[in-house]
C-alpha cells in the first residue's frame, strides 16, 4: 500500500491532483470491476451446486468441492482420464504452438531489428500487421479452406505430384497448429523485437572479429539479450493458445477436443455454469503454475518480462 501511495503522490506532483485522481480511479475501476470481481464471481460459482433457480439462496445452496472432485474423478470414483487427458493434451499442444512461434518469430524479430532498414523494415511491419485486420473467425475458416481436402495446399501438392491422395490436414491437426501459431505471432515478434533492438550491433561484429560463427553469436550474445522478450512473448502466446476457443472449434479435427471446448460445453450445452467455472479456474491455475515453473527453469523473473 505504501508503494501505491508514493507512486500516487509523485504522479500527482508531476501532473496535478485532477489527472492523478482520474488515473487512479480509472485504473482501480478497471482492475476491480473488469478483472477482480468477475473472476471472484467465477470462483464463487465454482464452489456451488448446480441448482434450479427456485432453490438458489435456499438451504441446499451450500459451498462444495463437488465440481473439482468431478474433474479429478468423474461420476464413478476412478480417475477422470477423459477430462484430465484433454487438459494435458491442450497444454502440450499450447507448448508446441509456443515453441513453433519462438522459432518463427526470433529470426523475424532479429532481421527486423538489425538487418532491415527504412522502407523494407516498415513494409515488413505493415505486412505483419495488416493481415490481422481480418477477423479471427474469417481467418480460421480461410485456414480450413486452405488446408481442406480440396484446398489450395492439397491441389498444389497433388498437382506437383508431391503426394498421391489428399492429405487430411484437419484430422492431423496441422491446420489447427498453423492457425493458432499464426494467430499470435505478433504477440511474439514485438516483445522479442523490443529486447533485441537494444543490442549494440558492434557486439555482433566484435564476436565475428573474434571468429565466432553465426550460431555462436546468436547462442551467446543475441539470445541472452532476447530472453526476456522471448519469455514475455511465450507467456502470452501460451496463455492465449491454451485459452483459445474459435480456432480449435473451427480447425480442430473431429477427435481432438480443446479444454476450452469442454468448458464451453459445461456452460452452454449442459447449462452447468458451476462446473464450467470450476473447469475454467482449473485451466487458469494450471496455466499459471506451468508458466511459473517454466520461468523458474529458464531463470526469468517477472520483472524482466515487464521490461
Amino acid at each position: 500500500m505504501g508503494n501505491f501511495r508514493t507512486a500516487f503522490n509523485s504522479f500527482a506532483g508531476r501532473h496535478g491532483m485532477g489527472v492523478a485522481l482520474f488515473v487512479a480511479i480509472a485504473v482501480a475501476a478497471w482492475v476491480i470491476l473488469l478483472i477482480v470481481l468477475p473472476q471472484l464471481s467465477m470462483l464463487d460459482y465454482s464452489f456451488r451446486h448446480n441448482l434450479p433457480a427456485s432453490q438458489i439462496g435456499g438451504p441446499d445452496d451450500t459451498y462444495t468441492l463437488e465440481n473439482y472432485r468431478y474433474f479429478m474423478f468423474g461420476n464413478d470414483d476412478g480417475l477422470n482420464t477423459l477430462d484430465i487427458g484433454i487438459l494435458l493434451r491442450t497444454l502440450i499442444a499450447a507448448v508446441f504452438v509456443t515453441i513453433l512461434d519462438v522459432m518463427i518469430c526470433y529470426p523475424i524479430a532479429f532481421i527486423l531489428a538489425h538487418s532491415a532498414s527504412g522502407v523494407s523494415a516498415r513494409l515488413m511491419v505493415i505486412g505483419l500487421i495488416i493481415p490481422f485486420w481480418v477477423n479471427e473467425i474469417l481467418r480460421a475458416f480461410a485456414f480450413r479452406v486452405l488446408f481442406g481436402a480440396t484446398g489450395l495446399i492439397n491441389s498444389v501438392g497433388l498437382g506437383m505430384g508431391l503426394w498421391d491422395a489428399p492429405v487430411d490436414f484437419i484430422r492431423a491437426d496441422v491446420a489447427l497448429y498453423s492457425g493458432l501459431a499464426y494467430a499470435y505471432i505478433l504477440l511474439m515478434i514485438f516483445p522479442i523485437y523490443n529486447a533485441v533492438e537494444a543490442l549494440d550491433r558492434a557486439q555482433i561484429e566484435a564476436a565475428r572479429d573474434m571468429g565466432a560463427p553465426w550460431w555462436r553469436v546468436h547462442w551467446r550474445i543475441v539470445l541472452p539479450i532476447a530472453k526476456p522478450g522471448i519469455a514475455s512473448g511465450a507467456t502470452m502466446v501460451f496463455m492465449l493458445t491454451s485459452g483459445a476457443l474459435a480456432a480449435p472449434q473451427i480447425l480442430g479435427g473431429p477427435s481432438s477436443l480443446w479444454f476450452t471446448q469442454v468448458i464451453y460445453q459445461w456452460f452452454n450445452q449442459s447449462s452447468n455454469w458451476q462446473r464450467g467455472s470450476a473447469y475454467a479456474v482449473i485451466l487458469l491455475l494450471v496455466c499459471i503454475a506451468f508458466v511459473t515453473l517454466m520461468m523458474r527453469v529458464f531463470k526469468v523473473s517477472v520483472g524482466e518480462i515487464g521490461k
Binding site: D200, A202, E205, M210, G211, I225
Partner: protein
C-alpha cells in the same frame, strides 16, 4: 616477433559517388604505435574497418606481413579490433568476456579461466573476473576490452577512438596506460582518433587525414613543427594563418604580401614558389612575441581580449581582419594587464614561420 608489417597499397574506398578514402599509401611497421588523426568523417574509421577485414577496398590492396588480405575475413586476419563503444558483452562476466575468443576456438573452461586471469593481471585488474561488465568503471571497461582483444595474441590491435566515451581526466590517464600496455606486449597498435592530444602523446608516428586523403605521415614532432599542408598546419595544434601572395623567395625563405603587411617564413620542404602564388604563412601562438618597435616581420595589431591561464597568458589580437593568437609564458613578474583596444606590435622570427600553398584548413 613475426613480420607483421601493414602495407596500404593505393587503397581507395568508395561508396557510390562518395570517396571515403582516396589512394592511401602507407607502411606500418611491426610493434609500432601508429595513429590516424583527422576530423570526424575524414575516412579514418573506414580505413580501419578495411584493415580489420569488415570491408574491402574498392581499389588497391591491404597487405599484412606481405600477404594480400583480399577476401580474408576479419576473424582470419592477425588483427583484433577494439570498437568505439568497446562492445563488451553485457550479459557475460568479465572473465567470460575476455575468454570469449578462446571459447570460440574451443578452449576448455579451465584454460579459458586461466588465460582470463593472466590477462587481468596484465591489465592490472586482478580478481575482477567474476564481476559483471556493468559493475566496472569506464577506465576498467576500457582495459577489459584491451585484454579481450589480446586474448588470442593478435599481432595488430586496431583501436577505433576507444577513449572518446571517457571523461577528460580519465582519458589523459588512459593515454599513458595504453602506451604502457603497448610497450609491454609489443603488439602493433593502429589507433584512430580525432583528438590530436591523444595522437601526439601516444604515437610513434601519426598520419593526418582530411576528406579521405592522407595529408602527412610522420613522427609527432615532425607533424607539429614541419607541417606539409595548410590543413595539417591548421589542424594539429594552435596556429595563426596569414594569407597572402608570394612577393619573392630567397634560399629557403619566402616573403608574402599580406593584408597585415609583408611577412617572411620558411618554404616548407624547400619548395619553390612562383611570385604571385596564393599562400598562407603559419606561425604558432607561442612564437609570436610583443615588441616595442616596428621592423621586418612585425605586425601592428589591436588587442581584443586576453586570458590568464596560470603558466601562460593568451592574447587575441586583430590586424586588418586577420585574427592572431599569442601565448606568452608568465615569468612571475606582475605585468600590468593590457586594456582591450591597446595597440600591439607583434614580431616573429622567419625561421619559426612556415609558408604553405593555400589549401583547405581545419574548421575551428
Amino acid at each position: 616477433m613475426r613480420n607483421r608489417t601493414v602495407l596500404l597499397d593505393h587503397v581507395s574506398i568508395r561508396f557510390g559517388d562518395f570517396t571515403a578514402v582516396d589512394n592511401a599509401n602507407l607502411k606500418i611497421d611491426s610493434g609500432e604505435f601508429f595513429s590516424f588523426l583527422g576530423p570526424s568523417g575524414c575516412g579514418k574509421t573506414t580505413l580501419l574497418r578495411c584493415i580489420s577485414g569488415f570491408s574491402d577496398p574498392t581499389e588497391g590492396k591491404v597487405l599484412i606481413g606481405g600477404k594480400d588480405m583480399k577476401g580474408v575475413g576479419p576473424n582470419k586476419r592477425p588483427t583484433a579490433l577494439i570498437f568505439q563503444h568497446l562492445a563488451l558483452f553485457p550479459l557475460m562476466s568479465v572473465a567470460e568476456n575476455i575468454a570469449f575468443p578462446l571459447e570460440v576456438r574451443g578452449a576448455s573452461k579451465k584454460d579459458r579461466r586461466k588465460r582470463a586471469d593472466e590477462l587481468l593481471d596484465m591489465i592490472a585488474l586482478p580478481g575482477i573476473g567474476d564481476k559483471k561488465v556493468s559493475e566496472l568503471s569506464g577506465g576498467q571497461k576500457q582495459r577489459v576490452a584491451i585484454a579481450r582483444a589480446l586474448a588470442v595474441e593478435p599481432d595488430i590491435l586496431l583501436l577505433d577512438e576507444p577513449l572518446s566515451a571517457l571523461d577528460l581526466k580519465l582519458r589523459q590517464h588512459m593515454r599513458a596506460e595504453l602506451r604502457a600496455i603497448q610497450q609491454r606486449v609489443g603488439v602493433t597498435f593502429i589507433y584512430i582518433t580525432h583528438d590530436q592530444g591523444e595522437a601526439l602523446t601516444m604515437s610513434d608516428r601519426v598520419a593526418v587525414m582530411n576528406s579521405g586523403v592522407i595529408e602527412q605521415v610522420g613522427a609527432p614532432n615532425v607533424i607539429y613543427n614541419a607541417p606539409r599542408t595548410a590543413f595539417v598546419a591548421s589542424f594539429v595544434g594552435e596556429n595563426n594563418a596569414i594569407s597572402g601572395k608570394v612577393a619573392g623567395q630567397t634560399e629557403g625563405m619566402v616573403t608574402l604580401n599580406t593584408p597585415v603587411g609583408p611577412v617572411s617564413g620558411r618554404a616548407a620542404g624547400g619548395r619553390k614558389y612562383k611570385p604571385g602564388e596564393q599562400c598562407s604563412l603559419f606561425i604558432r601562438p607561442e612564437q609570436l612575441t610583443l615588441t616595442g618597435e616596428a621592423g621586418p616581420n612585425t605586425i601592428s595589431a589591436t588587442l581584443r581580449s586576453q586570458a590568464f591561464e596560470g603558466a601562460s597568458t593568451h592574447l587575441l589580437a586583430d590586424c586588418a581582419g586577420t585574427r592572431l593568437r599569442l601565448s606568452q609564458i608568465n615569468t612571475g613578474a606582475a605585468a600590468a594587464p593590457l586594456a582591450p583596444g591597446a595597440a600591439l606590435t607583434l614580431a616573429f622570427a622567419p625561421e619559426h614561420a612556415t609558408v604553405l600553398p593555400a589549401g583547405p584548413m581545419a574548421s575551428e
